[in-house]
Subunit: 374 residues, 2 copies
Amino acid sequence: MQRDQSDFDELTTPALLLDAAKMARNIDRLADHARGLGVTLRPHLKTAKSAEIAQCLSGGVSGPITVSTLAEAEVFHAAGHTDILYAVGIATQKLTRVQALRDQGCDLVVILDSPAQAAAVAREGVPALIEIDSDGHRGGLFPDDPALIETGRILDANGALRGVMTHAGESYNVRGKVAHAKFAELERCAAVTAAEALRNAGLACPVVSVGSTPTAHAARDLSGVTELRAGVYVFFDLVMAGIDVCRTDDIALSVLTTVIGHQPSKGWVMVDAGWMAMSRDRGTATQDVDQGYGVVCDAKGRVIPDLIVTSANQEHGIVALCPGAAGPMPELPVGTHLRILPNHACATAAQHDRYNVLPAEGGPLKIWHRFGGW
Amino acid sequence: MQRDQSDFDELTTPALLLDAAKMARNIDRLADHARGLGVTLRPHLKTAKSAEIAQCLSGGVSGPITVSTLAEAEVFHAAGHTDILYAVGIATQKLTRVQALRDQGCDLVVILDSPAQAAAVAREGVPALIEIDSDGHRGGLFPDDPALIETGRILDANGALRGVMTHAGESYNVRGKVAHAKFAELERCAAVTAAEALRNAGLACPVVSVGSTPTAHAARDLSGVTELRAGVYVFFDLVMAGIDVCRTDDIALSVLTTVIGHQPSKGWVMVDAGWMAMSRDRGTATQDVDQGYGVVCDAKGRVIPDLIVTSANQEHGIVALCPGAAGPMPELPVGTHLRILPNHACATAAQHDRYNVLPAEGGPLKIWHRFGGW
């Protein structure tokens, strides 16, 4: 919903704003798509780190989730979630904390990609997915790596083999639905091939988990896959808009800021949102359109054409016309409120400890706590 | 002091480590230099955001400090600091919080660079420094701008003119003491010229404040200057080492991480410190030596030659040999602890809520709280 400048006078800037109506549309869009594909959606909560948003994601019930830290697993388990995938390769020193959560009734599953990790995990009886490399982006075993079967056998011998998972992080580096659909098929193919290899070796592999925000939205067929993961889709951001996964108008997250000065000879407007408020993420720098540290909107959230945050110090942002823009520069007196759309919602949200929520139904701002740490 | 791998088993990685002995040497170095120059040192606490470190900086007493947010002013005032400069251009909406601190006995001074801000500030009777532009980096008035005298008169009429300040942020973009000394002289010259212009107009200008970490260490003569500001020198970082303000061995801050996987065919070691632990800051990317997301050390803090974090996802760092290095890649099994030196200490520290302090006198780790927000 649209708000006037005066609606934000209660907030200290910079402040993180969340448009609940846009978030709800983003959530429904992927939930509908996953339903159509016949797979379970397991949202990745590393983006939101909020118990309230976790509830929004799973329609008020405590559904399956993905996390990137044990701190997330602990908070979301305390909030009622019992089906949790910890999707970062397990450091064996962390198994004590994993086991403590499992002892409390949380079905916490870890991931790994080596026989050494499998031996430590199996010894503790912690269930695991084997990470599969579908695109060379990060970790994981190739489906034809002999270590896959070896790792599977070690887990299976202690009843700890739950399945396989993959993530095509390289899908962020290509643009458009056709390109993303190819990566979705790479994910599906790698995960299903690995699952079949395990099954052919006589090992059970019930879970076949894939996903990233670009591939999740573009996937057309997920035969053989059981679940889909995605994180940043809940808010979207300029990086996702830059590769056509969403429109700029779908971005639910912004940073409210105040004009604190001018350098008229340079066409600069100084605002009180620097990299501490926006993060140092420059994810659009390598895209077709470099959006600096973010796209500038008025206080109601309407994009001001050609205006971006061109550079940032710790608590200063410099707002100017993007290179090549004709102008003119709008009048923005000291004290004016603006909103800045982030390059990368995960990184920008991480700089804040609360969401100032614009409720879908209107009315006063709500505050939802956001946590961090490990 | 040096520690073994086993000393860190109590910590969840990633974890922020602070070497107190190195920090103490960094603090003493600039304190001695400022004393020699005959100026008051006003440390900038935006880097540390810790009451314990504030005490270390001012030798156990609550000395003059600089802050970048009102949250810092409030925390440090509660910790006993009463002489505080808020060195980000004032948004007039924030004057209520400024006044509340002043009413509690805090001599909180703001900065501004326009007659419009001066009118609002003077109306409230809040003392201010006028920001001077010494290098075109950010905000501030040039010393010969007619708006300087106009702004000064508005403040002075209500007894709110405290002086002038400048910051040569461009000094970060040049290398070596000779180059930094030139920027120090630019700062001095701009600030002193502006102060003289105000005095020639019949306005009192008691405070002449300058500084940045590179210029503070390189300044040879600060005639006419009353105080010196610097922030990141307390920890130092790879950006400062890259422009020869410190040595790599002076860097007091690091992130402890654990090896969580390998991609041997690519020469990659995966660790559990991604950009969430290191920040997205890539400050060395434009320096002579690009250190990726940080330089890798063993658990005792000894640099492992040619090993850096070449890329980072949210909770994954990819450690590899830097481009052109001959190798070989060291053996780093899953579970190995490493320390990563940060590009930019302000940004990396901001990703954590505590310092795990290695005491100068040895003995167990201490935990110092670190705060954030605005």
